[in-house]
Each structure stands twice: as C-alpha cells, then as structure tokens.
Amino acid sequence: MKSTRTLYYSTLGLLGGLCGWTLMQSGFHVFDALSISGITGLNIVWLNKFIYEGALIGLGLGMVLQARVSLWYHHDLVHIMSKIFFGAVVGSATGLFCFGLGHFMQIWHISPILSRLTSWTLLGLFIVGTTEYFRSHSGILLQRIISGGIGGFIGGGIFELLMLYQMSGPEHLYGLVLAGFSISLFIGLYENSVTSFALRVLTGKQEGQIFLLDQNSFTLGYSSQNDFILNGYAEVCNLHAHIYKKDNQLFIENTDADSEVLVNYRQVDQQAMKKGDVIKIGTAQLQYYEI
C-alpha cells in the first residue's frame, strides 16, 4: 500500500511537470498574439527576461502537490478543485520568486549551473513548504519540506545533465517532467519511511480505504478540513477524534463530548492503540494495524 502511494504521488508529479510544459506552450502563443495586436514589447524576448516559465512550472507542480492527499483519499471533487486552485496560485507565485532569484544571482557572477540548481532547490522547498503550511493543524514537518528540497535539487541536477547532453527534448520537456517527478518522488519516499501505522475502514461506504498515518497528529471526522474524512456514516461529528504519536505509540483521543469513540467496543477518552484493535466512530468501524 505504501509503495503504491509513492508511485501514485510520483505519477502526479510527472503530470504536474507536463501540465506546466503545456501551459508554457500555450503561453507563447498568447503572448505572441498580444504583441501582434498592438501591445509592443510583449513578445518572446520580453518573456525570456521575465522568468515566466518558472511561474508556470511552479503552477503545474503546486496544483498537483497541494491536492495529492485529497486525490489519494478520494475526497469531494469540489474540495479538490479548491485545493488545486489554491495550489496553482501559490505555486505560480513561488515559481516566479525562485527562478527570479536564480536569475538575479547572475549579477554576482555566479555560474548559471549553480544558480539554476539553487532555483530548483528553492522551488522544491517552497512548494512543499506552502502545502505543509496550510495543513498546519497537524504540525509542520520540517523533514518533509527538506525532502522536497532534496527532490528539487536532484531534479535540477537531472535537468542540467539532460541539457548537457542535449537530450532535454522540445522546449526542455523531459527535463521539466523528470524534475517534477523527482520532487514528488522524494516526498513520497520520505512519507513512506515514516509511515508505520495505518487504519483500515471495515464497513460501509468507504469500505477498504486505508488511512496511512504519516504525521505526528491527525484529526478524524466528517468535515472536509480533517486529515481523514468519514462522510459516509451516521453519527460522525465534524471533529470526532484526534490521533497523535507519543513515544512511538499511537493514541486516540475523543474530541467531542457529545459523541463516542469506542476502542474494542469500550468507550474511551484517551487510549494507546494496539495492533488489531477495532475502533468504532459513529457507525464506522476501523481496524488499526502496524505495517
């Protein structure tokens, strides 16, 4: 299950890179049309100066990285659209910033290779950082942001190598796609190494879904702001339970006084979970296990 998720994330990263590339292609034509229609100066020369490709790469990657968890857990489509929009805006801004900085570094006569690598690394760091920041209720994980940065660095390295051997394809297609792939692959690999507990839904509408526990704390409930959403069941309230890690053990805590959390059919307020425990939240039954 874990390796499937890594594969899923890296596929999404690949698609994000491709998305950025297609947007770049269409952008050229848009700017060409604008320059013809009378706004002078808006042509490819201007584009080359304005780091607009960086923004579009950031847009594609941000879209995908922001929505990756929601896509993986099959959340509501409207919710995913909102996340994608958010990721696109923030991602384009960060891309603009990172590649602008890289270009700016040339004032100090730093070699283009180094500046390109730094801008890729910064892109990885910032994009993962923004996606983490807006899930901050479960604690920002610095390691995950750093893993994004490492992914960006390696992606940038691949990009450089492809450029060196002149294999980066039409308008650097392969380089872009592979860089996006490596960023999300490294995040996936990091989450893979952290995950050692999981919750499986046994019954009802979400039967067979597996919640992989890869952070230090989670929220569980009906509303879409939770990490794990249980919306096919009766008697699940908006913020129902809180799961957190302590001394390499997972604890479950009841957050709503009016509703119940049952562990092994006994009502609990706060309890460490054991392997094979059956947790009942509302009418949903979950099984806890260690991978």
Partner: protein
C-alpha cells in the same frame, strides 16, 4: 467552506505580494543581463566563459521563436493531463462489496479479503481449519463444540466449551445472535460477520436473555373456554391466553403476562372484560401503551388490533365464533353512540343559535 475561502484569499494576497517583488525584479533583471554579457566579453573570467561554452544560453529556458505545439494542441494536452488526474482520482474510489447472503470475512492483515459464505444450516466452526490462508493461524482445538444455528435471518453462536478463545465484539460470550459487522476473534483469526439481508441496527441485542422469547405467561389450568382473547408477540408463533377476566401486563413476576424488557414498567397495563368486549388500560401516565400505533389511555379492543406495551408488540385476537358476536355487538353499540353524539351536537348547536 469558510476556511477554504480564507485559504484562497491568503493565497491571492501572498501572490500579489510576490508579483510586486517580481515587478521589482523586472527592473533589476536587465541589469543582470548586462552584467552577464559584460562578463562574457571579459575574457579574463575563465570560469564563466567555460560554462558559457557548455551552455550557450545565459540562463534558464531560452525559448525558440517557433514553439513545438500550436495553441489548440497545447490546450488539448492540458485538458488531457487534467483528465488523467481525474481518472487517478476516480481510481481511488472505495469499492463497496455487495455480497449475497451471510458469511465471514477474514480481517487479518495479509489476507486477500476472502469471503467465506455460510449455509443456512446447523454447523460447527470447524470449517475454519480447512480454509486456505497465506499464513497458519493458531486456532483452539475444540472448535467442533462451537455451533452456528440459523435464527430468523442470522445465526446464533453457541460456545459449549468455555475454553475456546472465542470473543464476539471483543467480549467473551457463550450464546449470541450475530449482527451485521460483528467482529469475532477465534484464536488468532479475526473474522468480520457480514449479512446484507439484515441491515445493521435492525436486530437490537441487549442482554443474553434476548433470544429467549421475552414474554411468558401464567399457564392456564384445565381446558380453555371459547372466546378467550389471545395475544401473539410479533415475530413468533407463541400464543398467550388471557384466562382471567382481569389480566395485568408488566415486567414484574406477579403479572399474568410477564414481559422482560427495560422499556416495560413493573405493572404496565391491564386488559379486562367489560360485558362481552375487552378493554385495555394504561396504568402509568409516564409509560406508553399504544393500540394500532396510537398512544392510548384506555380503549376497547377489536379483533386484529396491534398492541404495543413499551417496546413489545402483540397482536390481539379471539376465537372466530365469538368474534362475530362481539363485533356485531361492538358495531351496534358504536352506531348507538354515534347517533347519541349527533343528537347531542344538534342540541348544543340549537342552544348556541338561541343564545
């Protein structure tokens, strides 16, 4: 919803800030370009000239004047990418299995969700040892003494050997009716009982006494006369004869009809004879007795009435020969009563008109 809007507003605000920075860049960038070109011209800087030899472009992506794709093609490719993302989302939709009939599901980790169907006959749990699993589980040796008996739509589990490590819903029990989504622990095996015929929550299982019939009666001595009323609890063939002229219903042992339920008071209701017909009376104000779904205080009973005392349902009936007479009498009295009422109404109407 509010938080999402707030999020997006945050994003827009931050991006506006960054765009300001980038405008600031756009004044600086030509300067950077100039610096680079100057350094290229300056042949003393060997490092930069070397890198420029490797990469003719000064920085990141320098675009050809003729892009590979046309506008329409690039937009189409973008749509295809989004479609692939949608397909990836759709693939993650949880598959809800619809299984026919009753059966067990193995919940152990490495099992490939194998479903074990159950036949509607008396059987022991010994078949669990014959199931092929990826790993050998330790099971207790006395599984042949755990029986599954069909009970209404589901099964009744009876553990006749108390040494078996059998837990139902993580509790030790000797006799239980299985409901949908029950978890059974048999040794190391964890089983989930599935039964789509009986949706969850239909069977209410509270105590161990539940599967014995909740109603018992004072047994009549000697032969029973014709026309004695019969109460039949819903969902069973048991017939309770009301032998006496005055019968009390309740959960106490002193009653004529004893209903063991939490919802029934010690002495809850009374059914007694009035002339030729029978009448039911609710004895406690805070308890409910209903006839044909309507809460009543006291009421005459007809043949085929449905009485609910607390949460227990009964059907009221008498033997056929007597019921006809009773019915005729009831209808006659009812007609008389309605006629009386109408006359009374007319009189009151006249009075009101006069006043």
């Amino acid at each position: 919803m509010f938080s999402q809007i707030f999020r997006n507003l945050c994003a827009c605000a931050s991006s506006v800030g960054l765009i300001f920075i980038s405008v600031f860049y756009s004044t600086l960038l030509p300067a950077a370009e100039d610096a680079v070109t100057e350094s290229v011209l300056n042949e003393d800087d060997t490092l930069l000239s070397f890198t420029d030899y490797l990469f003719p472009e000064t920085y990141f992506l320098k675009i050809d004047n003729n892009p590979l794709l046309t506008f329409a093609a690039s937009l189409l490719l973008f749509a295809v990418v989004l479609l692939v993302v949608y397909a990836l989302w759709y693939l993650r939709k949880p598959k809800v299995s619809t299984l026919p009939g009753a059966g067990f599901k193995l919940l152990n980790l490495n099992e490939q969700s194998s479903f074990i169907p159950l036949k509607a006959e008396v059987q022991t749990l010994e078949f669990l040892t014959k199931i092929q699993t990826s790993q050998k589980y330790r099971l207790s040796a006395n599984l042949n003494r755990v029986t599954l008996t069909p009970h209404q739509n589901t099964f009744l589990v009876e553990d006749k050997n108390f040494k078996n490590a059998l837990l139902i819903n993580r509790r030790r029990s000797h006799r239980t009716i299985l409901c949908d989504n029950d978890v059974l622990d048999v040794g190391e095996m964890i089983l989930l009982y599935c039964n789509n015929d009986v949706p969850a929550g239909k069977i209410q299982r509270t105590t161990r006494m539940d599967y014995q019939l909740p109603v018992s009666q004072v047994k009549p001595k000697g032969p029973v006369q014709k026309g004695t009323p019969i109460l039949t609890p819903a969902g069973s063939q048991q017939e309770i004869l009301l032998v006496r002229n005055m019968n009390t219903l309740g959960s106490s042992n002193f009653n004529d009809v004893i209903i063991t339920s939490d919802e029934v008071a010690l002495i809850h209701a009374k059914i007694y004879k009035v002339g030729q017909s029978w009448k039911i009376i609710n004895l406690l104000n805070h308890e409910t007795t209903t006839v044909n779904g309507r809460r009543i205080d006291q009421r005459f009973l007809k043949d085929g009435d449905e009485i609910a005392v607390g949460d227990t349902l009964f059907k009221f009936s008498t033997s056929k020969v007597q019921t006809k007479q009773v019915r005729r009498l009831r209808t006659e009295t009812a007609k008389k009563e309605t006629a009386k009422k109408e006359t009374a109404k007319k009189e009151t109407a006249k009075k009101s008109v006069k006043t």
